[in-house]
Amino acid sequence: METVLAFGILWVICAILIVILSDKWSTLALLALNLLIAAFLLTENDLTGALVKAALGIASPLIILLAVARTKQPQPRFGTLPLISAALLTLALSYLVAFSTQSQFPPGRITESYVLIALFGIAFLILVSQRSILKLLIGILVLENIGTLLIAWGENTALLSIVAEVFVVLITLTIALIALMDFAEYGSIDGSKLTNLRG
């Protein structure tokens, strides 16, 4: 339980850093999150899951970093202070939800369930608070990480974890490519400025 709690706190810190930091630094926070998840899987004796997460978990942040280097980060929608407040509020709400539904959690997975609900809340916050398409991509990858952590709960899940991680890389590649196309066309990767088609 202590291991889960320790890793859980680190994951949530990484996720909160993703909310607050710039595109480049939040990509590095995502890399840290992925590697921490790989390390956790190793402690859970899920060698395949750990190897897959370590190998493919590096690929996605690298692709995003390449895209970040070729684009210009849009002006953030909110300042650092409102984002920190929102992150803490989300965290509090997530734990409230987790606490009120605790009786439904699988036995022996109470701490993990708390952490997953917190990560889900923070991922949701990233998706609603950010303008940058690459930051939205990182939010999607945090959501996908919840899937990775859930897979670790089962047995004989090597196939599932490989499938999920491979598609995470493909999703990253596709969205990063389209972000580059957007930047070439509009000079910006600001999702809120993509309004030509509204109506």
């Binding site: 996908e144 899937g147 599932l160 999920a164 969205i175 066309e185 030509n196 109506g199």
Partner: protein
């Protein structure tokens, strides 16, 4: 002949098309040949198959495919063939990735419909989504905006679907939905909500629908046709299969889906009526259609599922027909603004006839196919009792703006003569465009006048889905 090969042929053809990418004409004809061969073999397979499993071999079983969705997968391949034919004159000689990606989307959509395995379903759905995202960028410019919205929202949806599928595996202990036992109501509630949000985003359910008009509007018309007519309906079928594989099915989930469905119909119909762009009009009408299908899911009875699955198949035929007609209009006039068109009935009579049949079928006018499926759904809604009769009345009332929209568009585009537009060039109306329109028009009529054989088949299918 086995179904798995008919799904593999488009993939092999996609590889061939990619090899001949620079010689677009060769790639185009290879694509047409491959997908047509696949459709013909699938047809033969349906006639040769004599038992429930005759259409599948061990390879298909290993890939997690089953015969339950055979009929829907067949329509996916046939509509895919029509869309590929239509692409030949429409797309011309540009874009080396067009045909490989189109064939991948067709094949993976059909495979997703047949899938009973949690892992393979995810592979097929994701492959289809990512291929579509790249294909939407094909026309460049504004299409990048549409592709961004499509890929971001659908990837969020995919994350929800992935979590739902993993929760299924964890709760039922198997990847195969055919082997699902029973689990706690809370687990089912959580899985159902994640599944509905995930697949609902791909279907275009309100409020996750904002990508639909942009994507259908900016994608090449054959791609819009396949997305609106087939991918959306096929995903709805996948939702039905996986939702009703969960035990116990919860009434509260069904009611939530039914209410969302009525909301979806209302938003789709009213927004469609206000559109000035032909493709965006059809995009919103496809949101309305998705709502009708989901209402059947929300009712959840065997009769409703029969109507819902018939509506899925009908949607593939009707929606593809109107989209192909609009594609023909755009190809011939280079115009998609409804106000800039007029008097096309004399210049494009086949297209006008096809559009009218498709529009009336989509509006549920007898004796066309849309009437039968919508009648079955509404009847099931009234039979269910509780909130459902009121929801059925609301759904019926909300479809009227859509009918009015179709009448308005037909009057404006085909009948109004005060517009001076350039005469359509006949060369655009190649045989590749006309034949699919004629066949789909005939199907709309035949499936409406003689629905018994199909409805009987679907009735057996819906009983099987409900475990009866």
């Amino acid at each position: 002949m086995y179904v798995v090969y008919t799904l593999a042929i488009p993939l092999i053809t996609a590889a061939i098309c990619a090899l001949f990418g620079r010689k677009m004409r060769v790639a185009a004809y290879a694509a047409v040949t491959g997908i047509t061969l696949s459709a013909v073999l699938f047809t033969a397979n349906l006639f040769v198959a004599t038992s429930a499993t005759a259409g599948l071999d061990s390879l298909a079983t290993m890939a997690g495919l089953s015969t339950v969705g055979l009929m829907v997968a067949y329509v996916v391949i046939v509509i895919g063939a029509f869309v590929t034919w239509f692409s030949v004159p429409y797309i011309g000689n540009a874009g080396r990735i067009y045909y490989p990606l189109l064939l991948i989307i067709i094949s993976t959509t059909a495979a997703a419909v047949l899938s009973t395995n949690v892992a393979t379903l995810y592979i097929f759905l994701e492959t289809s989504t990512l291929s579509t995202a790249i294909l939407v960028t094909y026309r460049k410019g504004r299409a990048f905006e549409a592709a961004t919205k499509f890929v971001v929202l659908n990837s969020i949806g995919s994350s929800f679907t992935l979590i739902a599928l993993i929760l299924m595996f964890l709760n039922y202990g198997t990847l195969n939905i055919g082997s699902f036992g029973s689990t706690s109501s809370n687990a089912v509630l959580l899985i159902s909500l994640f599944l509905f949000i995930g697949l609902g985003t791909k279907i275009g359910v309100v409020p996750m629908h904002s990508w639909v008009p942009d994507t259908y509007g900016e994608a090449p018309t054959p791609v819009s046709t396949f997305l609106a007519g087939t991918v959306k309906a096929a995903t709805a079928f996948v939702l039905i299969r996986f939702l009703f594989a969960l035990h116990p099915v919860l009434d509260v989930v069904l009611l939530f889906i039914a209410v969302t469905a009525v909301l979806t119909v209302g938003v789709g119909a009213f927004m469609a009526y206000t559109q000035k762009d032909l493709k965006r009009f059809l995009a919103y009408s496809s949101i309305e259609q998705a709502g009708i299908i989901l209402f059947a899911v929300g009712i959840g009875s065997s009769a409703a599922l029969t109507g819902g699955i018939f509506q899925i198949i009908n949607n593939m035929v009707m929606k593809s027909l109107v989209f192909l007609c609009v594609g023909a209009i755009i190809a011939a006039t280079k115009q998609r603004n409804i106000g800039g068109l007029g008097g096309l009935v004399t210049k494009m009579p086949i297209v006008a006839g096809g559009f009218l049949i498709g529009a009336l079928a989509l509006s549920g006018i007898p004796p066309l196919n849309g009437f039968i499926s919508e009648y079955l759904i509404l009847q099931a809604g009234f039979d269910k009792g509780g909130f459902y009769p009121a929801l059925s009345v609301a759904l019926l009332a909300l479809t009227f703006p859509m009918f009015a929209g179709y009448i308005k568009v037909f009057q404006r585009v085909f009948l109004a003569v005060d517009q001076k537009i350039e005469a359509p060039t006949v060369s655009y109306l190649s045989i590749y465009i006309i034949i699919p329109i004629i066949i789909l028009s005939v199907l709309c009529v035949l499936m409406g006048v003689f629905p018994t054989a199909i409805v009987d088949q679907i009735n057996r299918l819906s009983l099987a889905l409900l475990g009866g």
